[in-house]
Amino acid sequence: MALSKDHMLNIYRDMVLIRRFEEIIEKYSKNGTIPGFIHLSIGQEAAQAGVIDVLRETDYKFPDHRGHGAIVLASRPEDRKLIMAEIFGKKTGINGGRGGSMHINDLKVRNMGFNGIQGSTVVTSLGTAFASVYNQTDDVTVVFMGDGTLGEGTCHESMNMAATWKLPLIYVLINNQYAISTPYTESHPQKQLSDWGKGYNVPSMTVDGNDIEAVIEVTQSAVDRAKRGEGPTLIELMTYRWQGHFSGDPAAYRPEGELEKWKEKCPIKLAKEKLLNHFGVHESEITEIHNWVEKEINSYLEFSLASPNPSPQDSIKYVYTDVEVEGRS
């Protein structure tokens, strides 16, 4: 799909924003400020930005564990600093610090959050898609998965049910080549994982996940199909994670030179080339975007660092909707 110049400039800014977001998270994870595991999506920006770009605020989104980028872009601009604060485990975090990197949710934009267990949201997402049909609305559901997710049995149950009932559900499989250290080619028999959808009569396609225009085009056609009541689509987006599985994983399992090869196909670099060469955008406009992003990201960071920790006593809230559990006396 050929994007307009403005659209391309916007999506370029989106991708730079989530790249810088992740770089900041990486820095503060490695220096010990951010607790816990962090799964970075550097290198996968087009796969996240392109899909979110097509969706409306009322469409249901289930990000995956490597989903900071999709989560940031799905949120309202004023809430983005709250997302960073959540990753820092702060009281001001969008979920009060109780979830952290892996469970960021924001119901007002229908970011339903990730469940830390692979394959879990693949069946939960059946329910929001089902509710759209039950309530006769045209909101679609997108569930992000990785190549590793496909090994879970829930993927079979979900796709079988979604296809049988023609649910408005889009499976976005971000194939970044590795489930932690295991290449997908060593754990699945298919050459392309999208082949897996064929057994369920689900239209399935593989596209270059670093080509922002291709991602937008394939997502749009899946959304259109879902809205026509024709059922689910499986989209496999081929990409690569530049970091290890978690921040700090040296990724020694990757062959030498592989990362460098993929860096040449950096989605941001490709989009920039398109802007400069195809749309005749001036280098100064690109610099302006980067300057804007720096200012923006720094404001999220300052907010996150300055925010207080949550009250430990809040740990006992919301276990049940109607009864309180015992705290410490």
Binding site: N95, M112, T124, N160, V319, T321
Partner: protein, 325 residues
């Protein structure tokens, strides 16, 4: 107006009346729609509401996952697990999804689902269709586990469960399905998190749930003839437990017997006993006793199954021992 109906009819009636009352309620599961359920519990719903009753593939994870997602959109799914044993194949959805959603969304949304699960032994179906799985669920903050013992309790608790915003596992002991009792025709709710004092007595507190309540009543009757007065507490909500009612009762009687179907080790009888020791040790006149199944899978042959199930004579023996301590 009340009349006598069976435990299974009481559940069926609750479902019909809640479907009628609230169009956000729907049923989903294996053979629950056209067939009306393997045990006939959902009979008649599909013919009245064909767009609100869903037969699924044999996909328990998808059934529970879909229910959770639909609940987040404001619907009120009632899912059936044909046998509670099947919780093992959708345990992740119950434990890691349903039970965590209120916490994850800070109470802004929750898994307002009911999972009806057919539990317990006694119908000669061996180890994959006879287990008492309550303890699998009672270490999971966020879940509500209900265990009715009469048709009246079944109807009122199921109605409360459907209207409640927490994920509720509603245990239906298959040995109780044909049990009859007085049930009001109208809709009524029974409180969650509240135990029922089935019988008052001054000498021994017996805690029992589901089909074990009948066991306890029979024993209490027999012991009464010997001058031993038993107080029977039926928790109704196994988790989160109404500790207060049990503790108040044991503080009065000073003696505690717990009858629990299912293996002894780490069963809820252990938790109730620990709770009493921790809270009111000084009130106890004798050590507590647990009457449970043996720590085995449930075997098939009737003489074998009967052997591993809780023994009535052991209840009498335990009560007599406590009185002579």
């Amino acid at each position: 107006m009340t009349r006598k109906i069976s435990f299974s009819k009481a559940i069926n009636e609750a479902l019909h009346q809640e479907m009628e009352r609230d169009e956000k309620v729907f049923i989903i599961g294996e053979d629950v729609a056209k067939m009306g359920g393997d045990f006939g519990i959902t009979a008649g719903i599909w013919s009245k509401w064909p767009k609100r009753a869903f037969d699924t593939a044999l996909s328990e994870s998808a059934i529970i996952g879909l229910s959770c997602g639909a609940a987040l959109c404001g619907l009120r799914p009632v899912a059936e697990l044909m046998f509670a044993d099947f919780i093992a194949v959708c345990y992740d959805q119950i434990v890691n999804n349903a039970a965590k959603l209120s916490y994850m969304y800070e109470g802004k949304a929750s898994a307002q689902i009911v999972v009806r699960a057919v539990t317990g032994g006694g119908i000669r179906c061996a180890y994959h269709h006879s287990q008492c799985i309550e303890p699998w669920l009672m270490n999971i903050p966020g879940l509500v586990v209900l265990a009715p013992s009469t048709p009246y309790e079944a109807k009122g608790l199921l109605i409360s469960a459907i209207r409640n915003n927490n994920p509720v596992i509603f245990l239906e002991h298959k040995g109780l399905y044909n049990k009859k009792g007085e049930v009001p025709e109208d809709l009524y709710e029974l409180p969650l998190y509240k135990a029922n004092i089935v019988r008052e007595g001054s000498d021994i507190t017996i805690v029992a749930a589901m089909s074990m309540v009948d066991f306890a009543q029979k024993a209490a009757e027999e012991l009464s003839g010997q001058g031993i007065q038993c107080e029977i507490i039926n928790p109704l909500t196994l988790f989160p437990l109404d500790k207060e009612t049990i503790i108040n009762s044991v503080a009065k009687t000073g003696r505690l017997v717990i009858i629990q179907e299912g293996p002894k080790f780490m069963g809820y009888a252990a938790e109730i006993g620990s709770m009493v020791y921790e809270e009111i040790f000084e009130y106890l006149k004798a050590p507590m006793k647990r009457i449970t199944s043996l720590d085995t899978p449930v075997p098939f042959a009737p003489v074998m199954e009967d052997y591993v199930m809780p023994q009535y004579e052991d209840v009498l023996k335990a009560c007599n021992q406590l009185m002579s301590f």
